[in-house]
């Protein structure tokens, strides 16, 4: 499904909430702002490596990797994510002024409060692993978003896997 058709669908639902009935497609089009230009119409971006500043948040995100994943209702760091977290720790050693916040996220299969608690466990597990790799605990904050910030909204395992994640976000001290 394209982004455009998805936003149309959403507009239709929003109209239904206000008007008490889902408006026909024509009406939904009329109430929807013009869609953003399709990505394909834009010129191809310059090669990434040429414009990423070493020690920047983008450098961390693109060249190191910011996201690890968790099993269903689990919060232990997975074996296959330890190399990535090791690289995060090395990068943080190279740029000692950088501070990060680890976000803990969950899939939709949990109640709101439980997932806030589970997300906190996940964020803390990532933090503890980074600390075990030599990162000062004082440089690492944690925050749980529970199930409130999904990156994928379908109700299937492929989607849930993406949402069960810990994301290390550079919050300060990076090259800009």
């Amino acid at each position: 499904m394209t982004q455009f058709s998805r936003s149309l669908k959403f507009a239709c639902v929003a109209a239904a909430l206000i008007l008490g009935a889902c408006t026909p497609k024509q009406a939904a089009v009329n109430t929807t702002p013009p869609p953003a230009p399709a990505p394909a119409a834009q010129p191809a971006p310059a090669p990434v490596t040429s414009r990423i500043l070493p020690g920047s948040a983008e450098d961390f995100r693109v060249n190191v990797g910011d996201t690890v994943h968790f099993g269903y209702d689990q919060y232990g760091v997975e074996e296959n994510d330890k190399a990535l977290l090791g690289r995060q720790a090395q990068w943080l050693a190279k740029y000692p002024a950088v501070r990060v916040t680890v976000e803990g996220h969950c899939d939709e299969r949990g109640t709101r409060e439980y997932n806030l608690a589970l997300g906190a466990r996940r964020a803390n597990a990532v933090k503890e692993y980074l600390v075990s790799q030599g990162v000062s605990a004082a440089r690492v904050e944690t925050v749980s978003y529970g199930k409130e910030r999904p990156i994928c909204t379908d109700s299937n395992e492929a989607c849930w896997t993406q949402n069960r994640r810990g994301v290390t976000v550079v919050t300060g001290g990076a090259s800009a």
């Binding site: 929003a14 909430l17 939709e108 109640t111 439980y114 806030l116």
Partner: protein
């Protein structure tokens, strides 16, 4: 925010046979809604259409309860509506009305509205109740809800729940970038007001027992903490000086304490704070997730959820943290327990896989009954009479949430009107 206005209420006497037999037994699973006629209230003075407006709100309240069937005024054969005369009951029997409410609205010289009504038992030909209110015109909806409450109470024998408000989370935007705002409205969806501007996420609001204060979780400054919001003053303050995330707050029945969850190094435990001196006591110490606490109505116990037994289940403890014991043993994960204001039941969310339903059980864990039908519901909240619940229902594909209500028996499931997507409802006590 709330108009602090004096509403005078007086019982209206009317000679005639004493107590009538008009009643609905709401404890039974099945029954026919009671047919009731509610003509537009007669309006005199400069009161405009308010008599018709009040009758309309009363009809809508009673209809939504599922216990009454207000008769369409077009079917009436008797168009007189005089509060001071005994109705011609034969005219109401011909349209099968069992209850009849007649009212009047009079604009007073001082600008106040005087609203009177009488509730009649048509078959017995007797007055069941009569009442007179006086207030400023802006309060007319509250008067209508108070009349609905009086009718409900005198027919069912239970307190009503119409003169109440709902605090909830208003949602806009896509699932990936959802904007969540604290909002409040009347129980019937009227008068919605946004209390926060959406620049930071807010979750799980709860009323205090006077419905003047809201405890909720806010991500303001990217630091998720429990906040208190004073509705009257429009001010909020962070609750306590906790070093990490605090969440899932609830007030004690006397309003003097808040029980909440504090996360420390990834572990969530339950704490209680006395609002009078801000002293804090830790209630759980388990390395498992302990969260979602809710007081019993006598204030002596707290029901909460924990995964200490390997899965999310419901536990009860004394308010000093002693005698922690599991009460839910049915299949699936069980969480978000909320003690009924009557004390007889605990509502909760049952999750099996990706199927979420609202359930109720007795405080000892027996008698589980699932009362929501869709499979995407969570977060129950009780009407102050313990007979109706609201909850969040999420739509598939991340397309937001709706608020629904249902009887404690699982009957009469209905959408609650909200301005757009909405979740996390919390029902106020009856407004004082």
């Amino acid at each position: 925010m709330r108009k602090l206005l004096l509403i005078l209420a007086l019982a209206l006497a009317m000679p005639g046979p004493a107590l009538a037999a008009l009643s609905v037994d709401i404890t039974k699973g099945t029954f026919q809604p009671l047919p009731i006629a509610i003509p537009d209230f007669a309006t005199t003075g400069a009161a405009g259409t308010v008599g018709a407006d009040i009758a309309g709100v009363v009809r809508a309240d009673l209809e939504r309860s599922g216990l009454f069937r207000p008769i369409d005024p077009k079917a009436f054969v008797d168009h007189t509506s005089n509060i001071n005369t005994v109705p011609n009951f034969a005219n109401w029997r011909t349209i099968n009305a069992q209850g009849l409410t007649v009212g009047s609205v009079t604009a007073q010289p001082d600008g106040q509205l005087s609203v009177e009504f009488r509730l009649w038992d048509v078959n017995a030909g007797a007055q069941i109740w009569g009442q007179k209110f006086s207030t400023i015109p802006a309060n007319w909806r509250r008067i209508a809800h108070m009349i609905s409450d009086a009718i409900y109470e005198h027919v069912t024998g239970e307190k009503g729940y119409f003169d109440t408000r709902i605090v909830f989370i208003s949602e806009t935007g896509t699932a990936q970038k959802r904007v969540k705002r604290l909002a409040i409205m009347d129980q019937d969806g009227a008068n919605p007001i946004f209390l926060t501007n959406g620049s930071y996420m807010v979750l799980t609001p709860r009323f205090n027992p006077t419905a003047q204060m809201i405890a909720y979780m806010s991500y303001i400054g990217s630091k998720p903490r429990v906040y208190l919001f004073d509705i009257e003053k429009g001010q909020q303050e962070v609750l306590g000086n906790f070093p990490n995330m605090t969440f899932s707050p609830r007030f004690s029945p006397d309003g003097n304490r808040v029980v909440l969850t504090l996360e420390t190094a990834g572990n969530s435990d339950i704490y209680i704070m006395d609002l009078r001196n801000r002293s804090v006591q830790r209630l759980t110490t388990d390395p498992a997730i302990d969260t979602a606490p809710s007081f019993s109505p006598d204030g002596r116990q707290i029901v909460f959820e924990s995964d200490r037994g390997g899965s999310q289940q419901i536990y009860v403890m004394n308010i000093d943290g002693s005698n922690q014991r599991r009460i839910s043993f049915t299949p699936g994960a069980n969480g978000t327990p909320v003690w009924s204001p009557r004390g007889d039941l605990i509502a909760f969310t049952k999750r099996v896989g990706n199927q979420f339903n609202i359930g109720v059980m007795r405080p000892d864990g027996s008698g589980e009954n699932l009362i929501s039908s869709g499979g995407k519901e969570e977060g129950p909240t009780w009407a102050p009479n313990g007979r109706v619940l609201m909850f969040s229902r999420s739509l598939s594909g991340g397309q937001g949430s709706q608020i629904w209500s249902v009887d404690v028996t699982g009957r009469n499931e209905r959408r609650v009107l909200t301005p757009g997507s909405a979740s996390d409802p919390a029902w106020s006590p009856l407004i004082q």
